[in-house]
Symmetry: C3
């Protein structure tokens, strides 16, 4: 049974939709991205220009998505979502245009996104608002496989009533194999869809795609570069599990040299007050200086430790990561040594505080033992599901606004 209203009510809503669509505009991107993206560089940490309230010049408007008839963007059904939005974001003043990199997000914006994500938990649970994005079409353009991330985005879109065009392995396929540029592919795919979720093997690809596209682009990971929705879901999970983001102690464990997620997480945590970060990594994959320097420049307290038990006993969050075999080439010895060094097991649990949690970006090999899974402090599968809520929130914000 479809949710329905009487036809007279419906018509008046449609008129409201049409009026909203006619007046719908986007402001320019919140952050002016530099041509070389180095998100660990302090100089890149430009605060959002939220002070500006003047209407943007027409020449600056870039992204436009038509309001789809049948979607519930302006529907009273979702008034609760709209009403509880942070006041500073209402009225389309600070629209989100693309999601490209962790640097886009300051405390205020994250707080707004997290509020929407919590509402999305409700939507997912009882299907209210399941027609929020009806009529919208998302293209998942994946140049390298990432089944987990792809399914998470596609579930998010479908839970909101939207539809999906999917490409699991765009790299091997057709046009790209014939030498077409990413920009040309984007200009074609934008003719078929309302929003593009891009996974690419090259750093900076998402930014190039967003520059070429007239519709919103979400970066679902571009090589060694950025994976901003993972970074957001990690921070969101800490807020959901611990209840706050200020005054927390976080232990980052495992492959800190190559792990995109721990680098982004450290970067984003630096936006909060009273954060203490512990780095616990085998020597060959220690956290690099750029992030350490950045934390220092932001006044964040950090230290390195080789004692996982001691760190675990102090922390609110232990964020474990996989040692990535693919980074070691044929140095199997080195890999095996690094891999076995810091394992989260029952012993770690035994010193962990009652309110603390274990996180992991997954997939997990044996760096967290299976017997940890049943402990309520094992939060990594809840963390994976938070990815759904964050992606629902971002799709909602990019297509419907605040």
């Amino acid at each position: 049974m479809a949710l329905a209203v009487s036809s007279s009510l419906m018509l008046s809503n449609l008129q409201a939709f049409a009026a909203a669509a006619a007046s719908r505009v986007y402001e320019p991107t919140l952050l002016a991205y530099g041509s070389t993206a180095d998100y660990s560089s302090p100089g890149r940490d430009v605060p959002c220009s939220h002070a500006s309230s003047s209407f943007p010049k027409l020449s600056l408007l870039r992204k436009t998505v038509p309001l789809r008839l049948g979607c519930a963007c302006g529907s009273p059904e979702l008034s609760s979502v709209h009403d509880t939005g942070p006041h500073s974001f209402t009225g389309m003043k600070y629209p989100l245009e693309d999601v490209l990199e962790a640097q886009q997000f300051d405390r205020q914006l994250m707080s707004g996104i997290f509020q929407v994500a919590e509402q999305m938990e409700e939507v997912e649970r009882n299907s209210a608002g399941g027609n929020l994005l009806r009529g919208y079409l998302m293209a998942t353009l994946f140049y390298e496989p990432s089944t987990r991330t792809r399914l998470s985005f596609e579930s998010a879109m479908k839970r909101l009533g939207g539809e999906v065009l999917t490409t699991e392995n765009a790299r091997e396929f057709s046009s790209a194999a014939k030498g077409e540029t990413l920009e040309d592919t984007i200009r074609t795919v934008e003719g078929y869809s309302d929003i593009i979720v891009l996974r690419h093997f090259e750093s900076g690809a998402a930014r190039r795609a967003a520059a070429a596209a007239r519709i919103p682009v979400i970066n679902a990971g571009d090589g060694p570069g950025q994976h901003p929705t993972q970074a957001l879901l990690d921070v969101y999970t800490i807020q959901r599990e611990i209840g706050r983001l200020d005054n927390i102690k976080v232990g980052l464990v495992g492959d800190l040299a190559n792990g995109r997620t721990v680098r982004s997480l450290a970067y984003l945590l630096a936006k909060y007050d009273g954060v203490k970060i512990y780095f616990v990594a085998p020597d060959v994959v220690k956290m690099k200086d750029d992030i350490k320097d950045y934390l220092t420049s932001r006044g964040v307290d950090w230290e390195e430790s080789s004692d996982l038990m001691e760190v675990a006993s102090k922390c609110d969050v232990v964020y474990q990561t996989r040692i990535q075999r693919e980074r070691f080439g044929d140095k199997i010895d080195l890999y095996n040594k690094a891999r076995g060094k810091y394992i989260v097991d029952k012993n770690v649990l035994s010193v962990l505080q009652k309110h603390a949690v274990i996180l992991h970006p997954l997939p997990r090999l044996d760096e967290i033992t299976l017997d940890v899974d049943v402990d309520p402090r094992a939060a990594y599968f809840r963390q994976a599901q938070n990815g759904l809520f964050i992606r629902m929130a971002l799709l909602k914000l990019l297509l419907c606004g605040w």
Copy 2:
């Protein structure tokens, strides 16, 4: 135009939905599966404990799927489906929780499923009930390709108004390639969907997945193990084509040693009375003793024959199968000899009774000649479509109950 009701009616229905959702529970699995699955072992043939009508203990409840707003599970539109359900299955007394192996199904359960499958034929034909599973999301997790089976499940879900997340080749992709366990993958994917359809290359994988999952799992084939929906559609096709399952004569032809389908079919036919089975197979791929012993133990009459014409003249059903080249390695001579031995052609049709049918699980090579296709007794493409109705019925039962 969406099917709709006046808003007042709708609201009262929503209240009914909410009430139903609140009281909705699942009983524990019908059959207690042993740790080693040998479905040909007589000892495994435990009857369903349908006598129990007491409310299950909370600790035994496992699978729960939230009732999705907008679905038509409790809608009067489908009252006919609900009203004609077998009385013994109403009231959520014997819910289906997972579909894992042929041993789950006794006569009574199959009879109930087949009644729902017949209703699904109507749904598919005229789209009534096409919103039965609106708001539900099925994940097809295929670790080996099986386009036919995958499309059949996805069509079933979409014909019922549900949505699909699809993975065509999960084995090569991302997390599994990095060494993630099936259980971890399942725990992640269950966060994105309401039901998982699993195809895997390892026997027992579906059972492991079901044990890990909080949502229903359907086994769409796990290696040399089980393919229970194929087994059900074969039995269903016999009932639809012949009109009964008791007192039938069935000839199983072709590769009986390696054919998962013929083994399951023989097993399930043993649950009916007065069944006679003929085995017609090249020497190298004869039916194995475990099934023969099982049939004998159940009092089923069977015999082996090398005369396809004589068997065809006596049978209600001739079930032809493909000789699987992949089982012969480099013994091409042996393969070619086996392959050409028993062909269903015009000669076989000439002795086949008028009411009898030819079945085949497909794909077919040349073991049934093309000129047989136009004969109304060639039922193999109808059989393939029955797979759709059976899968629609199972999805309906797993997500909506009886």
Copy 3:
């Protein structure tokens, strides 16, 4: 919010639907296809037998798709689409049954399709009619990858409210790899869907599929054979950009020997009056004699030229194509020489008339320089999007009729 009407109105509409469904029939295929398809042969250019208005004999009826409840085929919402259809096509007199090859289309049929395509632009833009094909299921059966074409078809179906079963790489997968014939695959897939979009590596595959199927088949490219929807979108783009199809000058540039699109375009343009065609190709990939002879036989004026600048200055349309490296094997020298010969760049733009346009079937390598993209006469991305509207129109016509 779903578009809805009061339940009494709905019921009367459903009755109308049912009546329409009961009386719904298809006439036999417009064109009797020969057994060998050579679309450049004049003898193949059989005009449509539009004179016949008698009811077809039952034995000639082939394709039937049930009217799906919930679709808007007969809905007043789309009355504008129905009312503005060309009078000669109304009343199901000349239904489209399959889309197989360019020879199917004469001026009148193209004119009708183009009118529907223009209406589809409106549908795509404001989502009205987004439930036109609700309840219908399209199977995209791709035996070779073509992401661009696949996404275009899938977007078309979803923009109209229909659903999609998708197979990205049917060739490597399951049944085909086991030796199943295309016909058997089609007979199975037609049980799961309402329309099949086929991409195949063998010329003639679409025709074989259509002969086997009881549901409509669209050829999305069959090897070196046909790609009729590309041909239609090229002609449609010329009409949309130039405003007419009679009395135009068209320059075909690049690989004219192997390019399926330029051959089909030349063929279809021959149906219009006063057309002049210029062939501009490197020596190794010149237009073949069959097309030249066909144009001559139809009285179409054509000439070959090696002066792209002069041709560009005269033409309404410059249709550039990619030199296909894969055709040159290891003759890299020859390829590089051919590739660099005729490039559309700022110099070409400088002589191009103001109303003229540059087209390209895409993907593009460097045969059009990037600085051309910003010129409003660069129409190739609009051309790509026209593919969406043409495919929406064809899906609408094949499933709902005129």
